[in-house]
Symmetry: C2
Subunit: 384 residues, 2 copies
């Protein structure tokens, strides 16, 4: 179902020949309305891919009729020619689906940086995808945006007579300000663009923005939310926000679960913080500590590396009052050894690291994964 | 030679039984004067080991008669008992070498965090080390402070009638604000504490502080400089600063060369920066990018990952004017593909990444290494 769970949406995914492997690599998501309201959140990396620059402008009026997405090439760091290619993708898509203004089409690309897209294959792929647009095309679209993802990621939340559905790709460079992560959410709720924007930003802030797989921030991250209004229902603001949040959270967890080379899914919970900002800062510092990520990979409850990571931040805490639990065993109390590390069972795939800063009542959760030899292998061989 | 290259210094290293392996693990460096002037730089991690807290206080008056160092245990995150152990090490050393005030003794520890030191072994080791103090003991001391180091690290710079010598340990957690890095420098120049401090801080700022092996900052980093004045010579300030800088730079390069699991030594040169701070910020961001470190391990000149790392900083630059060279081949020009990546030979152990921000005349160099499966293995198994 995914992006076509909501009424008013058609989608498709095809193998356009952008990837040398011949795997599916081009997707379309089309909003048939009656509403065209849309919102988006983009990477905060200052080096932004051409499609991100295009889509940002396309969204300026809060309306989109379609999204064209390709894997197999990021169209990032491609200079003026890359900007031209992103514009051509929007124009070609607009013609293929019968939309007058190319600024109603957002463009998303993912893959290697610095390599021009094979535009002949791309435009032929857009034509083929336009011919295959269907209510049943959501899964094909989700598959076509995969890069190193081992599975495609979809999610749906159901309201009273309306739904929010989504698809995501991403398996590396997962980091703050999003990741090499493309996400398209759709809804048939009738919600104006400003409200879509508020719901989406609220959801992203505590879901995709709290994923920190490897500390690397991509040039292409994009999260879009399109509303068709086809259900004729305008949900209450909180109800709609909850549904968007649920889909974002589910997709974010799927991204972490499929991170390149990961053998552990790690949830860093920071509690007792003086502020939410402090909790996020500490959580990120812990989640990015390579030594800790190696230790957790080795099922070693190395709380010293947690303290060492906390100590690099400017958060409010007293080093002699820090408590740390790993899988609920408080192995560090008052900044020193607590319960026996032998009590910690780390054999499962999920690991929880809890930090109590004992400085307040605020909290935050950051999701990450372990650092493995497979991660090194996958990322040293990717472009070769 | 090393710390005993300078007149007035004795040193020794013994196997005290702190390490289960039976390898050397305790070192003494003693300054017989006539001067006792000293300076130190410590980790900026807010979680600081007991010996760091002790040595900081001991150095408050700018004078030291000795340094006692142990490997096999960091005495970090060990609570009030750990503070007591650090004090006992200083007191025991002072007695063993005939010094009245334990505050003339600095203490350095390295090894696992959170584990109490076996104080019986430590004090017996101090007695044994005191008996073996010798002008020829510098190498033994350098060997005794190794942890995962594969080689011991020493360096000497010679002035006109005076020398600066040093030893260092460190092979992981190398990061800004120093690393799990213990460094002792000695000189027989006659230099007052304030001038030692200025020379040491100046040298550390552009050497040890520019090493960023794995982005992790230790709880125990210490760099000490002790002056005996035994040469009777007071060098010119610039001449002395140059010698201290030369020894620090040489030892810093040795630390990067011996980083855990590394197969490449990487020099990140940032030029054309609007400020030195910008150059350092960009250099660190590039040096810490796991994806790039994997790519360089795989001998892949992946300049896109360099741009992606630059884009996460707040330095002054225009994304469309960035140039990047790998081993002097400008593979990225104007933020897009430049010369062919096929021209880049990355088969050697040393790799240079040059970033031209084209925003000014300032520059900085950061030294790092690649990310390897061996790093993951070594750091997932270390404490098990």
């Amino acid at each position: 179902m995914t992006v076509t769970a909501a009424q008013g949406f058609l989608a498709s995914g095809v193998a356009a020949g952008i990837k040398e492997s011949g795997a599916p690599d081009l997707a379309l998501v089309v909003n048939r309305g009656p509403s065209r309201a849309a919102a988006g959140v983009f990477t905060s990396n200052r080096v932004q891919a051409a499609p991100v620059r295009w889509s940002r402008r396309a969204l300026a009026d809060g309306a989109l009729s379609a999204v064209v997405l390709n894997s197999g090439g990021a169209n990032a760091c491609t200079g003026p020619a890359g900007a031209e290619d992103a514009r051509l993708m929007a124009e070609h898509t607009a013609r293929a689906i019968g939309v007058a203004d190319p600024h109603e089409v957002a463009v998303c690309s993912t893959g290697l940086i610095g390599v021009p897209l094979p535009m002949g294959a791309v435009t032929a792929g857009i034509d083929a995808a336009a011919r295959r647009l269907a209510r049943s095309g959501g899964e094909d679209a989700a598959v076509a945006i995969k890069t190193t993802d081992t599975v495609h990621k979809t999610s749906v939340a159901t309201g009273s007579g309306w739904v929010v559905g989504g698809m995501a790709k991403g398996a590396g460079m997962l980091a703050p300000g999003l990741a090499t992560m493309l996400v398209v959410l759709t809804t048939d709720a009738d919600v104006p663009a400003a409200d879509l924007d508020r719901a989406l930003r609220g959801a992203v802030r505590t879901t995709f923005d709290r994923v920190d797989s490897d500390g690397c921030m991509s040039t292409n991250d994009t999260v879009l939310l399109l509303a068709s209004g086809a259900s004729g229902i305008t949900p209450g603001e909180a109800e709609f926000a909850d549904a968007v949040h649920a889909v974002c959270r589910d997709l974010a967890r799927q991204l972490v679960a499929d991170a390149e080379g990961a053998s552990k899914e790690i949830e860093v919970q920071v509690v007792g913080a003086a502020s939410e900002a402090d909790a996020v800062t500490v959580g990120r510092s812990v989640a990015r500590n390579n030594l800790l990520k190696c230790a957790l990979h080795g099922e070693d409850p190395n709380w010293g590396r947690v303290l060492s990571a906390i100590g690099t931040t400017d958060a409010v805490f007293d080093p002699d009052l820090l408590d740390v639990a790993i899988n609920d065993v408080w192995v560090c109390r008052d900044g020193a050894a607590g319960e026996s590390r032998d009590k910690v069972d780390m054999s499962g795939r999920r690991i929880t690291v809890t930090v109590d800063l004992r400085a307040g009542d605020e909290s935050a959760v950051i999701w990450t994964n372990d650092l493995t030899a497979e991660y090194v292998h996958e990322n040293s061989a990717y472009s070769s």
